[in-house]
C-alpha cells in the first residue's frame, strides 16, 4: 500500500451534494481538504449534452449501459454498476441508484429544493411513530437561508403550515396544461403553487439566469441550475485549499490507537493500487448507503462491529420516499397549437401536502409533482399510443394520431413520507465483494400499511385530478396485491438513514451535528444522518445539515478540540 505522508486537515469522501457543501464551507474556513471521489472528472460546461437533438445520435437518447436514464443524462451510473454488485436478503427488493462522477447525482437531479418543516423534526412528539431529531427547524433555518442566497432557487412564499418559505427568485410562468392542473386542484381544494427548483431566474454570483431549454437533467452547461460540480466546487478550489482526487474508491476509514480516525484507505481505480491518505478529520459524504457501508467495513479491534457502531444501529432505519404515478389523456389538449413549451427541466407548479391526518388512515403526507407537455421526441416517444382513445391502428390515421395526441398527456407523481421501520435496513453481505474486494451491502426492505395506505390515497387523488380535468387515465387502479402501485424501495432515489442522528448514543449513530457519538473526528454529511423522512425531497436538507456540520467542525478546530 502506498502511504501519502502529507497529512490533511480533513478528508471528505464523495463530491455530491453533501461533500460539495462540506468542501465549500471547510476550505473557506481555512482547512486543507482532500476530497476522494470514486468517479471520474465531469464538468457541465463541457460535458453536458444540453442542445443535442436526439436525431443526432443513433440511439436517439436511449438507454446505455453506463447511463440508465439515457445517453444524454448527466449521470454516469445507474441501478447497477459493473463490478460493484449489491445484494438482497431473501426475496426483498431494493433498488440502489449510484452515480460515479464528480458532483455525484447533483449533475442530473430534479432540482426540487424543499425545506423540511418544523413538524418534520419532531414527529416523536406529534405521532410517536419515529423519534424526534436532536435538532429543530430553528437550528437549521439559518443554513437554509444561506443556501437560498448562495445557490439560488425560484419559488414563492405561500405561508403554508409545515412548508417553510424561503428566499426565492421569481418563478417562471406555468405551461398551459399546468394552468389547467391549477384549476383542477383548486376545484378539489388542493393547493397548487409555483414549484421550488434550484434554477435561477435572475443572475446570481456570476451565473446567468436560466434560458429555458428544458434540459436540466443533462447538466446545465451555463450553470443556471445547481450542481455541486459547478456551483460549490469552483469556489472551494479557488481558496487553494482543496485537493480533489478522482477515481479514488474509499475502502475503509482507518483509526489510531486512541480510537480516532487518522485517515482513509482507498483504491486508485486507474491502477488498482491501494493507497492511504492521512487526515485529522474524516467527513463521509458518499451517499447514505455508501457511507454506512464504509463505516461497517471499517472494522478494527477497537470497533469490531464497524466504526461508530457501538449502538448497533448502523445500517438501520433506512428509508426512501414513497412514490406512485398516474397519467391521463386530456381530450381538450388534443391537436393544440404548437409552441416552445419547454420551460425549465421540471414542473413549474407542485402541490405541497394539504391533508388532515385525523381524517385519514395513514400518518404524514406527500407532495405531488406534475408533468406533461410537448416533450422532445426521442427514443420511446409516445410509447403505448394504443392506450389513447383510438386504440392503436396504423397508416395515415396513426400518423395523424401521433400529431393529434402529442402533448395531451398530463401526469402526477406522489412523493411521500415513509415511516422508518425495523425491517428496512442494510448490512454487509458476508459472501460478496466488489471488484476491489470491498464487501458490499445487502438490503432488506419492507413497506408497511402506513405506506400502502398513503399510496392508495395518492392513486385515488390523481385519478380524481385527471377526471376533474376531463381526462381519462391510462391504467386501472392498482390492486392491494400490487401494493396500490407503490414504487420499490429505493426507486424514488431518496434513500435516507443508516447512520441516524439522535440524542441517545444507545439508539443513534450520530449526534445533532452529524458527528459520531463514538469517534469525535468522524462526521457524516449525506442522507445517512436523517432520523426520518418528510413529505419533501431531501437534498436541500442534506446540504443545510452538511453546512451546519462543517461550521461545527471549523469551530471545534478553532477551539483546538479536533
Amino acid at each position: 500500500m502506498q502511504v501519502q505522508n502529507d497529512e490533511y486537515d480533513v478528508c471528505i469522501v464523495g463530491s455530491g451534494a453533501g461533500g460539495g457543501m462540506a468542501a465549500y464551507s471547510l476550505t473557506q474556513a481555512g482547512a486543507r481538504v482532500l476530497m476522494l471521489e470514486a468517479g471520474g472528472p465531469w464538468d457541465n460546461a463541457t460535458d453536458s449534452a444540453m442542445f443535442t437533438q436526439p436525431y443526432q445520435t443513433q440511439r436517439r437518447g436511449g438507454w446505455i449501459p453506463t447511463r440508465h436514464f439515457g445517453e444524454f443524462d448527466a449521470c454516469i451510473g445507474g441501478w447497477s454498476l459493473e463490478g460493484e454488485p449489491y445484494t438482497h436478503k431473501d426475496d426483498s427488493e431494493f433498488m440502489w441508484w449510484r452515480a460515479r462522477m464528480v458532483g455525484g447525482r447533483t449533475n442530473h437531479w430534479g432540482r426540487i429544493s424543499l425545506r423540511f418543516g418544523p413538524d418534520d423534526f419532531r414527529r416523536g412528539d406529534l405521532d410517536g411513530l419515529s423519534p424526534n431529531w436532536p435538532i429543530g427547524y430553528d437550528d437549521i433555518k439559518p443554513y437554509y437561508d444561506r443556501l437560498d442566497r448562495l445557490i439560488g432557487l425560484f419559488g414563492s412564499n405561500e405561508n403554508i403550515h409545515n412548508q417553510p418559505d424561503g428566499i426565492f427568485h421569481p418563478p417562471p410562468r406555468p405551461r398551459a396544461y399546468e394552468l389547467m392542473v391549477m384549476n383542477a386542484s383548486d376545484h378539489m381544494d388542493i393547493p397548487c403553487v409555483p414549484a421550488r427548483l434550484s434554477v435561477i431566474t435572475k443572475p446570481l454570483n456570476n451565473r446567468p439566469p436560466c434560458h429555458y431549454c428544458g434540459q436540466c437533467n443533462r447538466g446545465c452547461a451555463v450553470h443556471s441550475n445547481f450542481s455541486s460540480t459547478n456551483v460549490l466546487l469552483p469556489p472551494a478550489h479557488a481558496t487553494g485549499n482543496l485537493t480533489l482526487v478522482t477515481n479514488a474508491m474509499a475502502r475503509e476509514v482507518t483509526v489510531n490507537s486512541q480510537g480516532l480516525c487518522d485517515g482513509v484507505s482507498y483504491v486508485d481505480k486507474a491502477t488498482g493500487e491501494d493507497r492511504h491518505v492521512k487526515a485529522k478529520i474524516v467527513v463521509l459524504a458518499a451517499s447514505a448507503c455508501e457511507s454506512a457501508r464504509l463505516m461497517m467495513n471499517s472494522k478494527s479491534s477497537q470497533f469490531p462491529d464497524g466504526l461508530g457502531n457501538s449502538s448497533g444501529h448502523l445500517g438501520k432505519w433506512l428509508t426512501d420516499t414513497t412514490g406512485t404515478d398516474v397519467a391521463g389523456f386530456i381530450p381538450s389538449l388534443e391537436g393544440r397549437m404548437r409552441y416552445n413549451e419547454d420551460g425549465v427541466g421540471g414542473g413549474h407548479v407542485y402541490m405541497p401536502w394539504w391533508g388532515n391526518n385525523d381524517r385519514l388512515d395513514f400518518p404524514r403526507g406527500y407532495h405531488i409533482e406534475v408533468w406533461g407537455g410537448f416533450h422532445q421526441p426521442g427514443a420511446g416517444f409516445m410509447g403505448g399510443i394504443h392506450n389513447y382513445p383510438r386504440g392503436g391502428g396504423y397508416g395515415a390515421q396513426l400518423k395523424a394520431d401521433y400529431r393529434n395526441y402529442f402533448g395531451t398527456t398530463v401526469g402526477f407523481s406522489g412523493r411521500g413520507e415513509m415511516i422508518p421501520n425495523e425491517n428496512s435496513y442494510m448490512e454487509i453481505d458476508p459472501d460478496v465483494t466488489d471488484q476491489w474486494g470491498i464487501p458490499v451491502p445487502r438490503f432488506n426492505w419492507e413497506w408497511t400499511d402506513h405506506e400502502y395506505n398513503q399510496v392508495r390515497h395518492m392513486q385515488e387523488t390523481f385519478r380524481e385530478l385527471v377526471a376533474t380535468m376531463g381526462g381519462e387515465v391510462f391504467s386501472e387502479m392498482p390492486t392491494e396485491e400490487r401494493g396500490y402501485g407503490i414504487a420499490k424501495g429505493g426507486q424514488i432515489i431518496h434513500e435516507l438513514g443508516g447512520a441516524r442522528m439522535g440524542g441517545d448514543p444507545d439508539t443513534s449513530v450520530l449526534n445533532g451535528d452529524c458527528q459520531s457519538h463514538d469517534v469525535s473526528n468522524l462526521f457524516v454529511v449525506d442522507g445517512a444522518p436523517f432520523a426520518s423522512q418528510a413529505d419533501k425531497n431531501p437534498t436541500w436538507t442534506i446540504m443545510a445539515l452538511s453546512w451546519r456540520a462543517s461550521e461545527k467542525i471549523a469551530e471545534l478546530r478553532n477551539r483546538g478540540e479536533l
Binding site: 460546461a45 463541457t46 460535458d47 449534452a49 442542445f51 443535442t52 437533438q53 436525431y55 443526432q56 445520435t57 443513433q58 440511439r59 436517439r60 446505455i64 453506463t66 445517453e71 444524454f72 454516469i76 414563492s156 421569481p170 417562471p172 410562468r173 405551461r175 398551459a176 394552468l179 389547467m180 434560458h211 431549454c213 428544458g214 452547461a221 451555463v222 389538449l333 393544440r336 397549437m337 404548437r338 409552441y339 416552445n340 413549451e341 419547454d342 420551460g343 422532445q376 421526441p377 426521442g378 427514443a379 420511446g380 416517444f381 409516445m382 410509447g383 399510443i385 394504443h386 386504440g391 392503436g392 396504423y394 397508416g395 395515415a396 396513426l398 400518423k399 401521433y402 400529431r403 402529442f406
Partner: protein, 212 residues
C-alpha cells in the same frame, strides 16, 4: 433541412451568448460524430448493412414500416426517415427475448400470408392482403383471442417504428417540436393557445409577476 439550419443557428447564437465551450457529441454518448456521419452516409447511399435483421427481414420490415407510417402531404414515410435502420440498430442492442419476439412476429406474418393467400412472403402479398392481416392485429382491444398475442407484438412494432420516425429529424419537424433551444425570454404559452384552452395568466401574474 431549413429547420435544421434554424436549430444550428440558434445553437451557435446560444453558445456565443453564453461564452461556453463547444459541447455536443462525444464518445461518451455511445456514438462518435464520425460513426454517425458514416452511418448517415451509408443510409444516403443505400448501402446500409443490417446488424441484427437478415436482408429478407429488412425487406419485410421496410414494407411493414411504411404501412405503419406512410408518406403524406406533411412528411415522408418511415423508410424515408431511416426508421428501419434505426429499428435494426435498436434490436441489435436489445435483449435476447426482445430479439426473439421480433423475429417470431415476422415469421408469423409470412406464415399468415401463406395460410390466407397462399403466398410465401409478406412482401409478395398485395397491399390489400397485407392490410387485411394488420387489420386483425392493429387494434389490441378489438383483437380476437386468436390474434391477441400478435396484437401485442404489433404494439411493439408500432411503438418502435412510430418513435423511430418521430424522433428523426423529419418526424420531429412533422410533429412540431420546436424546443431545446436558447429561449431566454420565457413567457409561457402564447395568448392564442391559452384562449383555446380557456386559461389565462392573469391570476398568476398578479400574484407572482411574469418574470419580464
Amino acid at each position: 433541412m431549413s429547420s435544421d439550419k434554424k436549430t444550428e443557428l440558434s445553437r451557435r447564437d446560444a453558445l456565443k451568448a453564453m461564452g461556453a465551450g463547444a459541447f455536443g457529441l462525444s464518445a461518451a454518448y455511445g456514438v462518435t460524430p464520425s460513426a454517425l456521419e458514416k452511418f448517415e452516409k451509408m443510409l444516403r447511399e443505400g448501402r446500409y448493412v443490417a446488424r441484427f435483421f437478415t436482408e429478407a427481414e429488412m425487406a419485410a420490415l421496410r414494407v411493414l414500416a411504411d404501412m405503419v407510417i406512410p408518406a403524406d402531404d406533411v412528411s415522408g414515410s418511415a423508410t424515408d426517415a431511416g426508421t428501419v435502420e434505426y429499428a435494426d440498430f435498436v434490436l441489435s442492442i436489445s435483449d435476447a427475448n426482445t430479439q426473439e419476439a421480433w423475429r417470431d412476429g415476422l415469421v408469423w406474418l409470412d406464415s399468415e400470408c401463406s395460410r390466407r393467400f397462399n403466398k410465401d412472403l409478406f412482401v409478395s402479398c398485395s397491399d390489400e392482403e397485407r392490410a387485411s392481416i394488420l387489420d386483425d392485429i392493429a387494434w389490441p382491444n378489438r383483437a380476437t383471442d386468436e390474434f391477441i398475442e400478435r396484437a401485442n407484438w404489433f404494439n411493439r412494432v408500432r411503438d418502435l417504428i412510430g418513435s423511430g420516425f418521430f424522433s428523426s429529424q423529419i418526424g420531429a419537424a412533422d410533429v412540431g417540436y420546436i424546443g431545446n433551444v436558447f429561449n431566454p425570454r420565457w413567457q409561457g404559452a402564447p395568448p392564442d393557445a391559452l384562449r383555446a384552452l380557456g386559461v389565462s395568466y392573469e391570476e398568476w401574474d398578479a400574484k407572482y409577476g411574469d418574470l419580464q
